[in-house]
Amino acid sequence: MIRMLVKYKDRTIKEFALDRIDTLSIGRNPNHHLVIDNYAVSGNHAVIFREGNRFILKDTHSKNGTFLNGLTVQQANLKNGDLITIGKHTLVFLDHGRSRPRPEQGGLKTSGLPGDPGPDHTMFMDTEVYRRMLAESGDIPEIPKAPAYVAFLAGGNGRFDLAKSMITIGRSHRCDIVIGGFFSFLAGDPAAAISKTPQHHYISGVSGWIKPKVNGQTVHGPVRLKDMDIIKIGVVVLQYASEGPAAP
């Protein structure tokens, strides 16, 4: 039994039995076996065809690419549990017909010493077995995280998402956030920088006579920003909002 599940946002919307099919074409054009009507999908996007007793995935020069287990591919053999991503849809290739590696210890294979290496030894999870289990147990919803941002309280409008590893604030347009106003020539180029580590943001003064202040305190070295901190540089006043689990 060889099956292909078509998933969209955690739900299986279609299923193909591949046992008797030699080719399965995928694209936005209505003449394909699997039509995905989405602008991220090319007219002729990819094709899956049988060669001997194996199935091969081939990208037919799609614009946005075909991903096999997260990597772009031109052509690849399909194994049980493989995840193919096309646009926003995921195709799961399931091949239950042939024997598959027997999972040891309920799906975990240790790459340690023969026998159980003991609880303090590090094991490595066999990702192939793991992927198959993932495919069978359904997709895991990722909780989207709202990115950290600074909102303008004065000297500008809207907000600025802190997506880059380094955001510069200064008087010229080379900086990400520009300080305006008559006395802006006293500010450096850049005057301050907001830098990012995986969990926090830091603000530091760089150059010029206008120094950044956080909650009224002048910044000398790098200062870790906390949620709702007020940053003031010249006429620009910003409020920092940290990364949060809630969508904006």
Binding site: T72, G107, T122, G180
Partner: protein, 294 residues
Amino acid sequence: MIMVQAAGFSDIGKVRKANEDCFLLNEPIGLYVVADGMGGHRGGGIASQIAIETIDGYMANPSQEFSDADGTQAVDVQSAAANRLRQGIFLANQKIYNQSVADKACRGMGTTVSALYLSGNSIITANVGDSPIYLLRNREIETLYTPHTLLHERKKIPKSMKGRYSESRLAHILTRAVGIRPDVGVALVETPCFSDDIVVLCSDGLSGKISQEEIRDLVYQNDSNSACRKLTDLANQRGGEDNITVIVVRVTSANERPVNRLFGRIAGIPAWIASLFGAKNRSRAESLVKKAAK
């Protein structure tokens, strides 16, 4: 240029018969690596050693052309230095994998890699596996690595396996390692470096025994060398079931941005004047639009 004072120390621990950890201090190029090997009869030690030697050789030799063989993985957001480090880890992965396929005694060997590369004015860290990298700044500690263990990727545990393993067991199950598979995913972090930053790299033999706060306090109270010794001793006192390796890198001076030259100031004057008028025009235009809307 970043000036640092670094020290590293590795100990076999109290229970294991061999030290499968390996570490590298290459101060001239600013590269520091901890590798915690695993698997096989003697494979773990070999894997970590190959990883260290390969990464060191690749990073230290600038003549070696940086081959962008897998352009699919290289993310453009990262700098060339970060990509170079990633390539070094890919190369190590290839070598270990090839050897584990060729040599029966080494079958299934692999290693974690946690690397720190000080380049330009940035701290670049890369990790595969569960060896921690900590950043100490302003008397606070934070992590710079992504632990690739089931405990931290709990969301990814399939339903059929839920509840089968205790937490301490999950923390020892890696979802990624160098040399196990032909390809490897590397977690990279790049962040600007400041004076007095301290980066600590260690193996899980240390982080499993000592809390982050204890590491922070010990590192701030001692110089790099004795901090390494004291951390290792403490982990040994608390059992020392695993190999213990620690590197402490203390940034003594980082050049913060170059000071503005006078020329830059003068060249900026037209832009400044334009920005004054630009702001005025914009606000006038906005008020006009508002009036029109009314």
